[in-house]
């Protein structure tokens, strides 16, 4: 797949239109060679611009899992807590609740949760760090 040129005004314009259509306030894209932050007007409370990711490596150092979109952070499926023995996805480090939808956020393969970085019920923005994971021993 051809890599997008994030400095291309046409790409920026298209991404902006998609964000508006999806009702999303902003986006941050970071690559080794380029980064792009789009913040739509009226979204001054967002904090995505403050986020810097850590990169996975093979030395057992923690890796930050970031929110793939905005939502209310749930460390587990709270809607089913009362159900005896209710199951949960094994590799989810948390969920983002958007209305009736729960978006599982995965640690990635062979990773386990080290700690959550936000409290239950916190509204997170795209790219906000939500958990630290570490390679399974």
């Amino acid at each position: 797949m051809t890599r997008l040129d994030l400095s291309d005004p046409a790409i920026i314009e298209r991404l902006t239109a998609v964000l508006e259509a999806a009702g999303v306030e902003g986006i941050e894209i970071t690559r080794p060679d380029q980064s792009l932050l789009i913040r739509l007007s009226g979204s001054a409370n967002g904090s995505a611009s403050q986020v810097r990711s850590s990169r996975a490596d093979n030395r057992g150092e923690p890796v930050v899992v970031k929110a793939p979109m905005a939502g209310e952070f749930w460390p587990s499926d709270l809607s089913r807590t009362g159900a005896p023995g209710a199951s949960a996805a094994s590799d989810a480090v948390g969920f983002l609740r958007v209305g009736p939808i729960l978006l599982p956020v995965a640690a990635g393969s062979s990773k386990r949760l080290r700690r959550h970085l936000v409290d239950q019920g916190t509204i997170v923005g795209f790219g906000d760090p939500i958990a630290e994971v570490e390679p399974e021993v």
Binding site: L15, V24, G85, A89
Partner: protein
């Protein structure tokens, strides 16, 4: 295409049923938990009433012959795909060759496997539901056997699901203001007094106040309840008349019968109440041996509940699409 590789009896293809033919003796059929069916289909971008597999006996196992997306709604039966646990009510992509497995339910009784595009069996009288009593509809008019192969249709606007899937919060949690919590372990089932209610005199009040137990003589046709019998003040002989799902009849034994999805089309027992349509799914998930109590409501209250549930389903459809679109845009 999917292949059934393990199944018990009475697992069938169901949609929302075939209304409109009761006058010629054709039962409506359809899912016992229509909410699970509607939410599952809405999450996948299917038509709301697309055909799904209703699982009543476990374990159940199927293999996807080609890549698709699926969601297991209804009972939480510890489902797994390719050996990995599946979040309840979570739409996930499936790859060709992967096996979906359902174990014994931990919560509820009936699970629904919804697949992108819906189960593609021939529609009979406008419905893909299996009529076990009529031996038509669904997959050859019978319950599924090991080795059966089912096709699925095309979905017009498929969701781009992330590998981790998109889930729905528990409807009981989302609709906590709409569905009363059980009292003393008894499920509260709302109903409207029916035609012969007044003929039961003081026993009619006991119908509402006492706790009933769902007997082992309960299936998709109806639930027989156990409790202190109620009887009309004077014996009634009635002509057979039309019956629909949700109708609560009282046979001479005095222990009520709730007609369910495969309800008889006619009956002559006096009707004491009618369970509101929006509460039938809760009965569909109630276990044999569990207890329930009827709560008297009005038509207006029933309509309010229906409206809230319909709003939830619409919200699931719109929000899942929005979330999927946002994730795609941020890739």
């Amino acid at each position: 295409m999917i292949e059934i590789i393990q199944t018990g009896p009475f697992n069938t293809v169901q949609d929302l049923g075939r209304p409109g033919f009761r006058n010629i003796g054709v039962t409506t059929s359809g899912a016992m938990d229509p909410l699970a069916l509607k939410v599952g289909n809405s999450l996948l971008g299917n038509e709301t009433g697309a055909a799904v597999i209703e699982i009543q006996t476990y374990p159940f196992k199927l293999r996807f012959a080609k890549a698709t997306a699926f969601v297991v709604t209804g009972a939480d039966c510890g489902a797994s795909i390719a050996g990995r646990p599946v979040q309840p009510w979570c739409a996930l992509p499936a790859e060709a060759g992967q096996v979906l497995e359902l174990g014994q339910p931990r919560v509820g009784t009936r699970a629904y496997i919804c697949i992108a595009g819906g189960i593609d069996v021939a529609a009979v009288m406008g419905s893909r539901s299996t009529s076990l009593r009529g031996a038509f509809g669904g997959n050859e008019g019978r319950f599924l056997f090991t080795g059966d192969v089912l096709q699925f249709g095309e979905v017009s606007g498929p969701l781009n699901l992330p590998a981790t899937g998109i889930a729905v919060i528990d409807p009981a949690y989302a609709l906590v203001d709409v569905y009363p919590a059980p009292e003393d372990g008894a499920l509260l089932v709302r109903a409207i007094p029916a035609g012969e209610h007044s003929l039961f005199g003081e026993d009619a009040e006991r119908f509402w106040s006492q706790t009933w137990k769902i007997s082992t003589q309960s299936d998709r046709t109806g639930y027989r309840l156990m409790g202190e019998p109620i009887r009309p003040t004077t014996p009634i002989e009635m002509r057979s008349h039309g019956v629909v799902s949700g109708v609560v009849q009282v046979p001479p034994s005095g222990e009520p019968i709730i007609q369910m999805a495969d309800a008889n089309t006619a009956g002559g027992y006096p009707k004491i109440a009618g369970v509101i349509e929006a509460d039938l799914w809760r009965l569909g998930q109630a276990r044999i041996g569990s207890r329930l109590r009827f709560v008297r409501v009005t038509h207006a209250q029933a309509a309010e509940v229906e409206k809230a549930v319909a709003g939830f389903i619409d919200d699931v459809r719109a929000t899942s699409r929005m979330v999927s679109g946002a994730l795609q845009a941020m890739k």
